[in-house]
Symmetry: C2
Subunit: 149 residues, 2 copies
């Protein structure tokens, strides 16, 4: 139910990067914006680049950029990469024992809600996120406009 703090951080970073239109995201900038502990964030960024979501560019004017198209990164992938493949494959209540042996009594009742959730996480890419974000911005801009005039 509750993702690890590190996974939350990862989702925060990637969501943030996906919705701003910067060319480059240095760790220090992300630190100031997101308030994730400085050194921990740096490690996380290195980790995310090793996992292939972003690419690091060293040296002056360096930082991090997405290494592939936003539409090819979805939330399920990120969670899986951070928490391990198990996380999404076993049942969300985590009764691993009863999967091997025999599905526990909760299993059937749970299955529907669970797949809805995984579906949402899988079907939502960072590109969707970005589009949504920009639509919202437009709506707010129009609202402000109509209030002023």
């Amino acid at each position: 139910m509750i993702l690890s703090k590190t996974t939350e951080y990862a989702l925060n970073v990637l969501s943030f990067m996906a919705t701003r239109n910067k060319e480059m995201y240095p760790a220090e900038y992300l630190y100031k914006e997101l308030k994730i502990p400085r050194q921990y964030l740096r490690r996380l960024l290195t980790d995310l680049s090793r996992k292939g979501f972003i690419t690091s560019i060293r040296g002056r004017n360096g930082g991090f950029v997405f290494s592939r198209d936003l539409s090819s990164i979805n939330f399920a992938q990120v969670i899986e990469a951070m928490e391990g493949q198990e996380a999404m494959k076993t049942c969300l209540l985590g009764f691993t024992a009863c999967i091997i042996d025999h599905p526990c009594v909760m299993h059937d009742l749970w299955t529907e809600a669970r797949s809805k959730m995984i579906e949402t996480l899988t079907n939502t890419s960072l590109a969707d996120l970005k589009n949504k974000y920009e639509m919202d911005k437009d709506t707010i801009a129009q609202l402000n406009n109509s209030l002023i005039h």
Copy 2:
């Protein structure tokens, strides 16, 4: 996404107790059945009784029994009691910061799947679990029967 091990244990214990028809569940019996580390389980049981799900009966022939009707205990309650109220109230991806400030970009997309899940957890009581379990047992018994004859 992933409940803490302790919460898993709690759900396992309560599910197990709900589906067996014993009058009393001593810690040692639950230990043998569920293989949860002995002393840790004992602490968990004490905790669950402090939280009002079960009652402890000390002394010889003692053990644990439900302290209220199975139909009045649902999964959401148990998870909330174990993980803290926050767990169910804030968004499942745990972006607490963005709730206070402003809902993050993920929020809207996420809301539907999230509420489905909470709904299921809230609407499923231990009594439901028990009924389901007994129906399944009957079905299997009938199947066996028809195979033999």
